[in-house]
Symmetry: C2
Subunit: 413 residues, 2 copies
């Protein structure tokens, strides 16, 4: 079994082979990985079945088993997404800025790979392929640590990836899996500053909290989204209804789904009945504040509800005085992921977009667009909810660093 | 006494008042701070004298006392540096990127303040003013925690800054000092994720290690620099000597000073005697590898010496086969701060600049230029030695974040 320290050391050693690769070498490696996934489809499904059997024995919920499951169609989709990434522009080597100093020194700020990117995730084997391939395209080694529930699938997927890398100039060690799935190994990984340049947790709130609390390696916090839709007094009712239903119900288990509806008091008596009907049609429970309950019948919302990311068909609703109170509420309860204002009033929109301190702020659009694909990044490593390094959806650029190249002719201070 | 939690809470509350300020409001506040520093010069010097007396009683070294000391000239220089920062372009509100999606959504990536920036530093009261003013100009609150040795100076400086802010629309709480200088309060600060968006340690290796190990707040690691000068076989001897002497001896206690000289074997017999004479003239001790000691007389360098940031008039010297071995040595021993190649060979320069994985890489110039002022950033919050968020010198832009502003006309997924 490859322990986490060995895996880290090998990923670090290999990072130089991938760091200096040209775009075409990386794309060729990705194409070989896609081919290998398809060629080893049966073997991957076999190993995945072991994980599913074990999970069933342990009584895992069917919804989680569905996320764990790989079949022919899913492996094909995975291979296709790898090919998609070959089409994205290589971020490495880009001259971000270039200038000259009065003393004649020329400076270039150049985009370079991170080095080794660690990813800690749960029982979703597709993340193994997604994350590995994004790291490779961004010129970095990947140190992967998936959940124990997916260990057989992950081992097989990484074996297949390494086999493909074996045919290239990139070291197969550029993708390493920590096969030790004990909790201790995760904590050890979080402290491997000598081998890891950044650590990205992808998973539920518990995982992310554990990483933030334990890591000494720089972390990009991802995920939790207590997102708000504010329907201003001048909102187009039909538009507001469509955006609300989309943001709340199109997919409930995702971080960019809405969890709270804020409604301006001057439109509440018109909008809330419309909202209630549409939400109820989708089977969505409504928890309302006192003023909401004066207009529509619903359960009572507590303070705690306003702070909760339901990830379910439940929404909390509050009637507010004006855009200022909406902003206040958001600043108090939001996880600062994504918030939207629905309004025909340009001044209120401007105020909301400026003052709401979240990764993505929307005017007349659904919060569900906070996504690497929807933003046009072509791929996504996760959605950052911190302000350091990357904020919001992270594509290839967001998992790179930069360095300064300075050229002179003998300058000294 | 204001404890760290209260200080953090107040800085967070105040961050909205500064976040939304326009450039001119911030510059006006900075001018008032500069005025107040000059107006309260005597009082600041009085309080600083208490710190110096206490430090002398505790037997502090004179070189450290010099860094602690404020006098009329230094306060004037401090006030002038505040005025300098008013002249820098406001980074906030800059539209970094702007694009449209096929569905008609328009996206803007806009530079926004961090929120609250924590700075942990040692007994240099000038950092109190520098850091506070940089944070304000970058639209963030500052939570300052200086060393106990400077507590009287820091309290007085922050009082003066707050008095100036009291005359503006910015809350005086936008600059908070943690007056509790017990070790526990520093550790508590490192875990205040609810109040702090980022933590920047400024000081020696011990302080930085403690922050990296204890912090749950995102950290920007700064400082340690084991920097290298590689003299290639085609180097201009005179230029190489000048750069070496500048990088090693102009100021020894700084992170961008050179600590190791690498010399190509084909130029060693010519360059090493020249280097020795020039270094000895400056009183610099030389620790050489075996091959070095065959050419010049000097002490023996151990493996540990090559890994040491001397911050003193000491240099380790190694003769290498070629540019590849120089790069290997640097990758093994460097802290990846700043490294220089001195060569007339364009191919070797290109190879070195591309393959050396440090924040700043130089061709024919001194490593001493790795500095916010020298890079033209106008000011500096520190020099990052990590790859996340900021790398190398950090100016105003490097202490900001961004958000996405998305505008639509009813788009849903």
């Amino acid at each position: 079994m490859i322990n986490v320290k060995d895996a880290g050391k090998r990923a670090k050693m290999a990072s130089r082979s991938i760091m200096l690769c040209h775009e075409e070498q990386k794309n060729e490696a990705l194409r070989l990985i896609a081919d290998a996934l398809l060629a080893h489809s049966d073997e991957i499904i076999e190993e995945n079945k072991k994980d599913i059997e074990n999970a069933r024995e342990r009584g895992m919920k069917e919804s989680l088993i569905d996320r764990l499951m790989l079949n022919g169609g899913r492996i094909k989709a995975l291979a296709e997404s790898v090919i998609e990434i070959t089409r994205l522009e290589d971020p490495i080597g880009e001259v971000v800025e270039e200038w000259e100093r009065p003393n004649g020194l020329t400076l270039k700020k150049i985009r370079v790979p991170m080095g080794v990117i660690g990813i800690i995730y749960e029982a979703r084997p597709n993340v193994t392929v997604d994350a590995a391939v994004l790291c490779l395209k961004a010129g970095s080694s990947a140190l992967l640590r998936g959940g124990s529930d997916a260990i057989n699938s992950n081992k097989c997927l990484v074996k297949v990836i390494k086999e493909a890398l074996g045919k290239t100039e990139i070291s197969p060690d550029a993708v390493m899996l920590c096969e030790d799935t004990a909790r201790e190994s995760a904590v050890e990984m979080m402290k491997m500053n000598e081998y890891l340049d950044v650590l990205i947790p992808r998973g539920g709130a518990g995982l992310i909290r554990s990483v933030v609390e334990n890591a000494t390696v720089p972390v990009i916090e991802t995920g939790t989204g207590n997102c708000h839709i504010y329907v201003d007094e001048s909102a187009d009712i039909e538009m507001a209804k469509n955006i609300l239903i989309n943001a709340k119900t199109q997919r409930t288990g995702v971080c960019n789904a809405a969890e709270t509806l804020l409604v301006n008091k001057n439109i509440a008596s018109v909008f809330l009945p419309v909202a209630k009907e549409a939400l109820s049609e989708k089977g969505c429970r409504i928890l309302g504040c006192e003023r909401t309950r004066e207009i529509i019948e619903c359960e009572e919302a507590t303070d705690k509800d306003f702070a909760t990311e339901f990830l379910d068909l439940i929404i909390s609703v509050k009637v507010v005085e004006n855009v200022e109170e909406a902003i206040e509420h958001i600043e108090r309860y939001s996880t600062h992921h994504s918030e939207a204002i629905i309004t025909e009033n340009g001044e209120n929109a401007k105020k909301f977009l400026r003052e709401v301190n979240s990764a993505a702020v929307y005017h007349n659009a659904s919060t569900r667009f906070t996504d690497g694909g929807e933003f046009g990044f072509g791929a996504e490593m996760g959605i950052s909810t911190q302000k350091l390094h990357a904020r919001g959806p992270m594509g290839l650029k967001e998992i790179t660093s930069y360095k300064f190249v300075v050229e002179g002719n003998g300058q000294v201070r």
